[in-house]
């Protein structure tokens, strides 16, 4: 009944607001980012000049940028390994048949539901040597422990990854849990009769059946990690030095603090292309994952 011409106009009227909003808040700005990336714009000096690919070449000679790329890779890989190992473990814990199951799931939803800024601001204090939660906790077991986490490059990096895991790992686990619930218990029964122990049936049934689910989730979580910004913004401000400045943080610093918008745009474009390639390739690979 909705196929007539008259209704087609109506159809477009109905989608128009949504289309317009998305057009102006995502498509227009991203095209503009592409355009601007070929210009040298220094707002402070009123400079606006076409420079071709120079901004792109500069990225790979900028030591701050190289540090950012290095840390972003460490952050993404480190955090994703954590997500995979601990996330699957947590999903299994959430799937246990105990009476506290529902309460436990509610608790695990909490970190997802909270703003990252709040967690990151609290973490800034939690990792304080003298009065922070983390060291206080460690001192329950080792009273003489002392460590100023956010002052040293490596420990600051671990801390950022740990906070990211605390916040997002539960969400990852819940999404895996969704897949876990689709595995019929008959499979495990059958495996049990055939003499497989719990560990064996985990590796032979659970993991293979979840593999596609996990793969697709990992793609999304990797993309979110690559554009992570607020952890570092609130927790370390990219410090010590520039050692925890994720690429996304670098972009905002160049764009809004240094007012180097052309250069910022070229970094953004590279980031976007890397993400598009990475997600495209892994989506393709996801189709190959069996089961």
């Amino acid at each position: 009944m909705y196929l007539s011409r008259k209704y087609l106009t109506l159809a477009w009227v109905l989608v128009l607001p949504a289309l317009l909003i998305r057009l102006f808040t995502t498509i227009y700005p991203i095209l503009e980012t592409f355009r601007v990336s070929f210009y040298d714009i220094k707002l402070l000096r009123g400079l606006h000049e076409f420079v071709g690919f120079r901004n792109y070449i500069d990225i790979f000679h900028d030591s701050k940028m190289l540090t950012s790329i290095e840390f972003t890779v460490i952050f993404v890989v480190g955090s994703m390994i954590g997500h995979l190992v601990l996330g699957i473990a947590l999903a299994l814990i959430l799937n246990m048949k105990i009476r506290a199951q529902k309460v436990l799931r509610t608790i695990v939803l909490l970190p997802w539901a909270m703003p990252m800024v709040v967690i990151a601001m609290a973490s800034k204090w939690a990792f304080n040597n003298d009065y922070g939660l983390i060291n206080d906790f460690v001192r329950w077991f080792n009273p003489s422990f002392s460590m100023d986490w956010l002052i040293h490059t490596n420990t600051a990096r671990y801390a950022v990854i740990a906070v990211d895991l605390w916040k997002d790992l539960p969400f990852f686990a819940i999404l895996i849990l969704a897949g876990l619930q689709f595995i019929s218990s008959d499979m495990y029964e059958a495996a049990k009769i055939d003499g497989a122990g719990p560990i064996r049936s985990f590796f032979r049934i659970t993991l293979p059946l979840l593999s596609k689910n996990i793969w697709v989730l990992s793609i999304f979580f990797t993309m979110w990690r690559i554009t992570s910004f607020d952890v570092v913004y609130a927790m370390t401000s990219g410090g010590p030095g520039e050692s925890t400045a994720l690429i996304a943080y670098r972009i905002t610093t160049e764009a809004f603090t240094n007012l180097n918008t052309g250069y910022a745009a070229s970094i953004a474009v590279v980031l976007f292309i890397v993400m598009a390639l990475l997600s495209g390739l892994s989506m393709k690979a996801a189709k190959r994952v069996d089961y």
Binding site: M1, Y2, I27, L110, V117, V118, W125, T227
Partner: protein
């Protein structure tokens, strides 16, 4: 004497232990934030930390209300989040209905475009969008922020509603039209009530998404301050460290407490929403 039932008992004990560890790791930091918020500022510098304060006080909260303008920030957060969810929902229902009911090649393309635009990260569009907002005088205005908040929830909301609408048979609307219902009447009286569970789920998830939105208010507003950005701009009070922990913890708890209650009440819908769309908070 490893009898038949001692092993399940050990297993069950182990399961409870695991559950307790998980609960501890999540709840303990939240408890610490709460305790810090009611500890007098000076006593925060104690080693080891007292997880049960000697002199509980609401001083930090009072300071937030008197000197930081907490009530105003709560007000602007409520306005922005409330209007965004409401208007966003109307726009989404319209679009989702159109996508689910009308068939045309261009319309399918438009739907695909909406979904694909979800993949464009905020960070890539930030600076041009900022310049654009200044240009059209929407920077640091409620309307500007609301449009951006709505933009953030549109793709997910439309996706979920569209899938749900496809499962509602068109024949119900046709029957209504035979009975003399006009187009909008049938949408309002017949389709919307059937859509209610999906609307509730989407609303709940969007509430959390909007409340947690940090990027938008940080870059596209200055004078209008919402809770998520306000926590990064608190003043230092007699504290030599870079973190005004007394105020941060109080502000943090003001944000966290409603979320805890909200999650506890709507656990079921949130789970459904998350699993249906794989939402990012």
């Amino acid at each position: 004497m490893v009898s038949k039932f001692s092993r399940p008992l050990i297993l069950r004990g182990f399961q409870w232990l695991l559950a307790a560890v998980v609960a501890f790791l999540i709840l303990f930091p939240l408890w610490w934030i709460f305790i810090s918020s009611i500890t007098p500022a000076g006593e925060l510098f104690s080693k080891p930390i007292r997880y049960w304060p000697l002199h509980p006080t609401l001083d930090s909260y009072k300071y937030l209300i008197d000197n930081v303008g907490l009530m105003k920030k709560i007000g602007s957060t409520a306005i922005i989040v409330g209007v965004s969810i409401l208007v966003g929902m109307v726009i989404s229902v319209m679009a989702a209905f159109s996508f689910a009911r009308f068939k045309s090649r261009w319309l399918t393309l438009a739907a695909a475009f909406l979904l694909a635009s979800m993949l464009i990260p905020d960070i890539v569009t930030a600076r041009p969008l900022y310049d654009f907002l200044r240009y059209v005088n929407l920077y640091d205005t409620y309307s500007g922020l609301i449009v951006l908040y709505i933009s953030g929830i549109l793709p997910f909301t439309i996706l979920i509603l569209q899938n749900y609408l496809k499962d509602i048979p068109v024949s119900i609307e046709e029957a209504a039209s035979i009975d003399g219902c006009g187009f909008f009447q049938s949408l309002y009286y017949v389709t919307l009530p059937l859509l209610r569970p999906a609307l509730a789920t989407v609303c709940i998830v969007n509430f959390i998404t909007c409340l947690n939105n940090f990027f938008t208010p940080l870059f596209y507003s200055n004078g209008i301050s919402v809770l998520s950005t306000a926590i990064t701009q608190l003043p230092l009070r007699d504290n030599m460290y870079a973190v005004p922990w007394d105020l941060v913890s109080a502000m943090g708890w003001i944000i966290i407490l409603p979320i805890i209650i909200f999650v506890a009440v709507f656990q079921k819908q949130i789970m459904e929403g998350i699993m249906a769309g794989g939402v990012k908070g």
